[in-house]
């Protein structure tokens, strides 16, 4: 692996600021504009505040942050799609963006036409743009769909084509936004191979993702954005950990969306390993224990506590509901004001690698209609390891045997 050359800066960002004015009531017609007597009301959203950093040539640079932290805005400024309000961006070399899972396609056109159009946008001549087509389609494995209009493509095919267009471009700098969240296992493997290859090449990559494993795997360095500011920058492992810590700290704060103080509140939710050490990353198949503390503020009859685990696609992979006297519980089926409970135990770890979100519901009187609390994100964790197909990793014992003549004969007779 050739380390990036610190003397050569590929991207230099200095004091970049970006604010959006978000109208509380959107005016998008002339009629409304003309009939609005007062100044328009709007809320100022500070998307980026004084962001400065350097990326060296050849570096694989990760940008992480929670949703709304300004990652996408920053990427769009780097890609010259948005204009920064202040500050300056300088870049050495040409740039190929892959933003919001695409590179800018016209859905009415075929893959052939789009590849050509994209090439010309990147500054190639039409001739050169056309000559790229073969390589792009081969990588995307879409040769047979070359003349199909993109509106008839599946979303997976679109992402493959877009990623391939970006990878096959001859740009020195690549901007990649969250490509790992989509695609099937074989495509993800392909991405992984390409990432390893690029990491050790001269090309510079700016990589935005929520997948902290990917950050640690590929990135030389990373940067954490929080509320539009750079919180930390440096070693990718450390940045990934501070991201997870940030997520963990803030998750319970994003508590009940019921308004006001709920009758029961969540204290803490965590995962721990076999030794009882709290963890935010779990290896695939490793022993996994779940814990949560809750506090009642008013008496609640027959409470049920439900937790579900959803993967990055929003699919609920598993979940459980427990009560005080259910499933062999022996406690009185009632919580008094001020009473605290703790629930915990082992969860069979059949999670496939990826990012998971834990949701929590609490009901009273064992009735799903009587919601006490609903928290869409009480915990956020990552399972790492070798990726397999599907949503969960089930045990299997499959044998392969060679059938001999006699057995085949017997089969035939049956």
């Amino acid at each position: 692996m050739t380390p990036p050359d610190p003397s050569q800066v590929a991207i230099e960002v200095r004091g970049v600021e970006k604010t959006f004015r978000i109208p509380t009531h959107r005016v998008d017609s002339l009629k409304e504009r003309l009939t609005a007597f007062s100044e328009q009301d709007f809320r100022v959203l500070h998307a980026l505040r004084d962001v400065s950093f350097d990326i060296q040539r050849g570096e694989f640079f990760g940008i992480v942050g929670r949703n709304g932290s300004g990652k996408s805005t920053l990427l769009k400024i780097l890609a010259s799609i948005y204009k920064a309000d202040a500050g300056r961006v300088r870049m050495a070399g040409r740039l190929a963006p892959f933003i919001e899972l695409g590179v800018g396609f016209n859905m009415e056109l075929s893959a052939r036409e789009n590849v050509e159009l994209n090439g010309v946008m990147m500054g190639l001549t039409r001739q050169n743009a056309r000559s790229r087509l073969g390589a792009v389609l081969e990588f995307a494995e879409l040769e047979e769909f070359v003349d199909l209009k993109l509106k008839n493509y599946s979303s997976g095919m679109l992402v493959r084509l877009a990623f391939s267009v970006m990878i096959q471009s001859d740009a020195e700098i690549l901007l990649i936004d969250e490509v790992l969240a989509v695609g099937d296992a074989s495509f993800q493997q392909k991405c992984a191979d390409v990432f390893y290859e690029i990491r050790d090449s001269e090309r510079t990559v700016v990589f935005v993702t929520h997948d902290m494993n990917a950050v640690e795997q590929y990135c030389h360095r990373a940067m954490l954005l929080h509320d539009g500011s750079v919180t930390s920058i440096g070693d990718s492992g450390e940045v990934a950990r501070s991201y997870l810590r940030l997520n963990f700290e803030q998750a319970p704060a994003a508590d009940s969306d019921m308004g006001g103080m709920a009758d029961i509140t969540l204290g803490d939710v965590w995962l721990e390993d076999r030794e009882g050490k709290r963890i935010t990353n779990v290896e695939k198949g490793a022993e996994l224990r779940f814990g949560a503390t809750l506090e009642a503020h008013r008496p609640v009859e027959g409470p049920t506590f439900g937790f579900s685990f959803a993967n990055a696609d929003g699919i609920e992979v598993t979940g459980f509901g427990v009560g005080l006297d259910l499933d062999g519980g022996t406690l009185p089926d009632r919580l008094e004001a001020g009473q605290r409970i703790r629930l915990g135990g082992e969860i069979e770890n059949r999670f496939e690698p990826g990012r998971y979100v834990v949701k929590c519901w609490i009901h009273r009187e064992h009735n799903y209609a009587n919601l006490v609390l609903h928290s869409p994100q009480v915990l956020d964790f990552v399972v790492y390891g070798k990726d397999g197909p599907g949503v969960v990793a089930l045990d299997h014992e499959i044998e392969v045997t060679v059938e001999d003549e006699a057995a085949m004969e017997a089969d035939r007779e049956r």
């Binding site: 050569q8 800066v9 230099e12 959006f20 998008d28 017609s29 002339l30 009629k31 504009r33 040539r57 769009k76 400024i77 780097l78 890609a79 010259s80 799609i81 948005y82 204009k83 920064a84 300056r88 961006v89 300088r90 870049m91 050495a92 070399g93 040409r94 963006p97 933003i99 919001e100 695409g102 590179v103 800018g104 396609f105 016209n106 859905m107 009415e108 056109l109 036409e113 050509e116 159009l117 994209n118 010309v120 946008m121 500054g123 190639l124 001549t125 039409r126 050169n128 000559s131 001859d170 020195e172 001269e202």
Partner: protein, 284 residues
């Protein structure tokens, strides 16, 4: 296609804009976008070309019927059918260019939100596509003129002198409308009404000489499209009845007003588009 190390010095990233990024790239992109769009209309459907020709021809047939059989005005004017078909096709270019431009930026949302390229390409490509259509339709018009028995005139060669100012005005309006429609989505509706009004305020379906109300005729010449179409009439058909621009306008004043409006629209188009271009992606 290999990386050129000479390129690898730090350069300021300019951000999105109306033009910029090299003249070569601009024209390549403009050409490619308009040709693809053109191909899509003409070869995308089985009867692509037939359909796009049917529209002006059907309109022509209806108007010809109305103005020669019902209102009888057509029969007072020399070679009225030729004039009518020519005008419909030429005004069709203006309508197609401006009409398609209104939704053009919104229609290219996928590209605008994800790539950096000179935004001006979008409205100009729409006008260029309309220009290709005009070229094809003009072939039909010329065939019709010859079949109608018109003797070719030297002044027909002056057609570019008509087309250039019309195309420039169409471009300016295309820029203005495409940029404004991103912010105010009712521009499309407003323009539909305005375009129809302009159609009647320009001597397209009627020749100027049939208007008996002199004041009205003079006022019409203040519409920048009117002098263009009147001049086209003069050069298309050798008819002593057709009035020159100054006569039709009853003096230079309406023509000066028309010129001022023309310049104002052009300036507004360029100004609004360059001002909006850097923010277009944010407002989609």
């Amino acid at each position: 296609m290999s990386a050129e190390p000479a390129n690898l010095e730090l350069r300021e990233v300019p951000g999105p804009s109306a033009i910029g990024g090299g003249r070569h790239r601009f024209f390549e992109l403009l050409w490619l976008m308009s040709v693809t769009e053109f191909k899509k209309t003409f070869f995308g459907t089985v009867l692509g070309y037939v359909w796009s020709l049917m529209r002006p021809l059907l309109l022509f047939a209806v108007l010809l019927l109305v103005f020669t059989q019902i209102f009888k005005v057509g029969s007072q004017v020399l070679h009225y059918p030729v004039l009518l078909l020519f005008n419909i096709v030429l005004f069709g270019f203006f309508l197609e260019g401006t009409g398609a431009a209104v939704g053009a930026v919104l229609g290219q949302e996928g590209i605008v939100r994800k790539t950096q390229f000179p935004r001006l390409v979008i409205p100009l490509a729409v006008v260029l596509t309309a220009l290709f259509t005009l070229g094809l339709n003009m072939v039909v018009v010329v065939v019709f003129m010859l079949a109608f028995g018109l003797t070719p005139l030297w002044s027909w060669l002056l057609f570019p002198v008509i087309l250039v100012p019309l195309a420039v005005l169409t471009c300016a309006l295309a820029m203005l409308l495409s940029a404004l429609n991103v912010r105010f989505r009712d521009v499309a509706i407003i323009w539909t009404v305005l375009a129809t009004a302009l159609n009647y305020a320009t001597p397209v379906i009627y020749p100027l000489q049939i208007i008996k109300n002199e004041t009205l005729k003079h006022a019409l010449m203040a519409n920048p499209l009117a002098p263009i179409f009147q001049q086209a009439h003069l050069w298309l058909i050798d008819d002593p009845e057709t009035e020159g621009l100054i006569t039709a306008a009853g003096g230079p004043l309406p023509l000066v007003v028309a010129a001022l409006i023309y310049v104002a629209v052009c300036i507004a188009g360029v100004w609004v588009f360059t001002r909006e271009a850097p923010r277009i992606a944010e407002q989609l």
